[in-house]
């Protein structure tokens, strides 16, 4: 089986879908001839032609609007917003049309679009190339939100997103494009090739939206996390010496509540880890759901380890990033009671 990093896996997903379905088109800023600033769309224009993989003006709202219009026509557009931090100009298109079109037309018109966008920090991108805005999209009824943590899932989830008939926000943690980063920024980069999830089938397969994965079974505490933080949580649990059950949520909407409830019901403790800012972050929703569903199983207060409620500071990013040391402290805190 081929070994792929996340960029190659995402590229392969789009390649497979463009070959299978001629209604799949790919576009965005620098996406066409050049193949994207992170190279995710490399070679697609050459292979499928300029009218199926092309560059766009710097206009995120225009990109989303064009995708929605194409979706209404019957295409399956996959657009790239170069950084998740750049998605805000497109908010009206996402909220007022993409998310609402099926509802407001009672199913007559739909926008089956996929919006790919690199998110998260750890590359010295400062406050405009590091954000994790996933919670914003989960608050908008009508959007699905997906965040993969490894190449195998990235390809299978992206194919599912493209095949899905609802609009999907597909956030790609850019720090793990090339390797499973565990938060130890001062250590040498580990490539994906040494990780089992880099074994990615060349052809078509799917990972269903709405299914969490258990990446580490454990008995003492449940860790709810996604994206880059999956790898950080694994390192943090190792360093804390805690037998943590780590769930990679993979999809935030729809959320795999059953897996979460079963795990917390078993462990009786819960730590939530995400890179995004804390207040009104997706962790707040998770904490509320765990409380609603598992209150009588809980043996200790739920703890959140997250990015601070500040913009992502350029030179201080490793003080901002919730690394394995903070995860380990969080695990100790949740185990203390």
């Amino acid at each position: 089986m081929p070994r792929m990093n996340m960029v190659q896996a995402l590229n392969s997903a789009m390649d497979v879908m463009m070959a299978r379905d001629e209604n799949v088109v790919v576009f965005g800023e620098d996406v066409g001839y050049f193949g994207g600033v992170f190279r995710c769309t490399e070679g697609l224009q050459k292979k499928y032609g300029r009218d199926r993989a092309f560059d766009t003006p710097i206009a995120e709202s225009g990109i989303l609007a064009a995708a929605i219009g194409m979706g209404v026509y019957g295409l399956r557009p996959v657009v790239e917003i170069q950084f998740a931090d750049y998605i805000y100009p497109a908010t009206d298109q996402l909220v007022s049309t993409a998310a609402r079109l099926r509802y407001r037309s009672a199913g007559a018109f739909t926008a089956p679009i996929t919006v790919r966008s690199p998110c998260g920090g750890g590359i010295f991108g400062g406050q405009t190339h590091s954000q994790s805005p996933e919670a914003i999209f989960t608050h908008v009824c009508g959007l699905k939100t997906v965040i993969p943590s490894n190449p195998y899932d990235a390809k299978g989830l992206l194919i599912s997103a493209i095949e899905d008939d609802d609009p999907v926000i597909f956030l790609e943690p850019k720090r793990i494009y090339n390797g499973p980063f565990d938060g130890h920024h001062d250590r040498p980069v580990i490539p994906w090739s040494e990780h089992p999830a880099s074994e990615v089938p060349a052809g078509h397969y799917t990972v269903s939206l709405g299914q969490a994965a258990c990446v580490r079974p454990g008995a003492e505490v449940t860790v709810l996390t996604y994206g880059t933080m999956v790898h950080v949580a694994l390192a943090g649990a190792e360093e804390a010496g805690v037998d943590a059950e780590i769930l990679d949520l993979r999809t935030l909407i729809p959320l795999d509540i059953e897996t979460i409830v079963a795990s917390v019901g078993k462990t009786g403790r819960c730590l939530i880890v995400h890179e995004a800012t804390r207040t009104s972050g997706f962790g707040a929703e998770l904490a509320a759901l765990v409380q609603e569903h598992c209150f009588y199983a809980l043996e200790a207060p739920i703890v959140r380890i997250t990015g601070w409620d500040t913009p992502y500071p350029h030179a201080l990013e490793w003080d901002y990033f919730p690394g394995p040391r903070r995860v380990a402290e969080g695990l100790k805190r949740v185990m203390a009671d």
């Binding site: 766009t56 609007a65 064009a66 929605i68 219009g69 194409m70 009206d92 007559a108 009824c141 909407i253």
Partner: protein, 410 residues
């Protein structure tokens, strides 16, 4: 250089406020038939003047003249007249229904009927339209049943949009009429996207979209023109300049220093500025733009200069911000009266026939209204079951919505 005087902010004002004498002297009206009709392949920079003039076919006496006369036969003209009159009859009945408390809200298109109706007739029924509100004439001209529209206005049990949308925000896949957005301008670049798809698929259908002059100030207007220009998209982009964005005169949207049509020039797009109350001019300009789109020459921007003769909506009172005499002083007249006068001049129509048709249409609308009310009204019900509100958020209902539906108790 030192300031000669302190800096001052210019805030545009309309020529007249309530109690003042209306003045439309700013609207330069060339004689009917005087504007040249360029070939559709004319490079945009060779027809820049068309963004600043006013294409007119019908003169004040109802005579048609000049190169833009589409030379429609009397039967087609009567069909156009009838559809405009039906639209007005529908509006009047729905307006009254709102005043009677049978629905929450209504918007009439009085004085703007030529735009929706003539343009629907100039386009192919297979073309996709992305309208803003106040284009019910477009939907009616496409033959969409009034009963469907009324069922939505009354949000009754047969409302195809299941009581989810405000009364005038129609959607019809069968009529190729896109779901009207209550927030403004989003649909304009979406129309461009639809037309890009049609080009990608080597289809023969084009798209057309409409936006008010007020919302040309939105960023999405710029995105639409940029994408339309860059990819030479088969789309017709219409700006309905009815002089008002609720209470705000068009100068606040940028109409004082230039025309709205002229916005197109910076994008390298051709612009036609048209007498929007002249059925023949609206038809001809739309056909010119549609032909251009259909033959891969590219997109066109049309500014339709008209006047919002009635209030913005049933929630609005224009006497608070404009002179009561203003509608009567509007120099481009009423589109129904003008087409009717033209047909009469041709010997194809008369005042008696006009009055008889108006009466027939009112009876027809009233009969349909009675049927619609028999399925329910917003005020008295019945409506769709509350549980249906959870449907269509997603294609398949996720667990959290199923749970909330149970929580609601239905």
């Amino acid at each position: 250089m030192k300031n000669a005087a302190p800096l001052e902010l210019h805030v545009p004002e309309p020529p007249a406020r309530p109690g003042e004498v209306p003045d439309f002297g700013w609207l330069k009206i060339p004689p009917a038939g005087s504007v040249a009709r360029p070939d559709i392949a004319t490079p945009p920079n060779e027809m820049r003047g068309h963004a600043y003039t006013l294409i007119r076919v019908l003169d004040e006496q109802g005579a048609a003249s000049g190169p833009w006369d589409p030379k429609l036969d009397a039967e087609t003209l009567r069909r156009g007249l009838r559809t405009m009159m039906l639209t007005r009859a529908y509006d009047e009945r729905m307006f009254r229904a709102q005043r009677q408390g049978k629905t929450s809200f209504y918007m009439r298109c009085t004085g703007e009927e030529a735009i929706g109706v003539a343009q629907a007739m100039a386009l192919d029924d297979r073309d996709m339209v992305f309208p803003t509100y106040r284009l019910q004439g477009l939907l009616i001209a496409r033959g969409w049943p009034l009963i469907e529209m009324m069922n939505q206005v009354f949000s009754n049990t047969r409302d195809r949009l299941k009581g989810r949308q405000m009364p005038v925000l129609y959607a019809s896949k069968e009529a190729r009429f896109f779901s009207i957005a209550g927030n403004l301008a989003t649909h304009l670049p979406e129309a461009v996207g639809w037309a890009m798809a049609s080009a990608i698929k080597h289809d023969d259908r084009i798209a057309a979209s409409w936006i008010g002059e007020g919302s040309t100030a939105e960023g999405d207007f710029h995105h639409a023109l940029t994408f339309a220009s860059v990819y030479r998209v088969p789309v017709v982009l219409n700006i309905v300049n009815n002089q008002y964005a609720i209470s705000t005169f068009q100068r606040i949207a940028g109409g004082e220093e230039s025309t709205f049509a002229a916005r197109a020039l910076g994008y390298g797009l051709p612009a036609l500025r048209v007498d929007g109350n002249d059925f023949l001019a609206v038809y001809a300009a739309t056909r010119w733009a549609a032909d251009r789109a259909r033959t891969n020459v590219g997109p066109t921007v049309i500014e339709l200069v008209t006047y919002r003769a009635s209030a913005h909506s049933t929630s609005d009172d224009p006497s608070k911000y404009r002179s009561a005499e203003e509608p009567g002083r509007w120099p481009l007249g009423d589109p129904i009266a003008r087409l009717s006068g033209h047909l009469a001049r041709l010997g194809e129509w008369s005042e008696e026939r006009q009055a008889r048709l108006a009466s027939e249409l009112d009876s027809e609308v009233l009969a349909i209204q009675r049927e619609a009310e028999s399925y329910g009204t917003l005020a008295s019900g019945p409506h769709h079951r509350p549980a249906t509100m959870f449907e269509d958020v997603f294609k398949e209902m996720p667990w959290h919505l199923r749970r909330q539906r149970e929580e609601m108790g239905s």
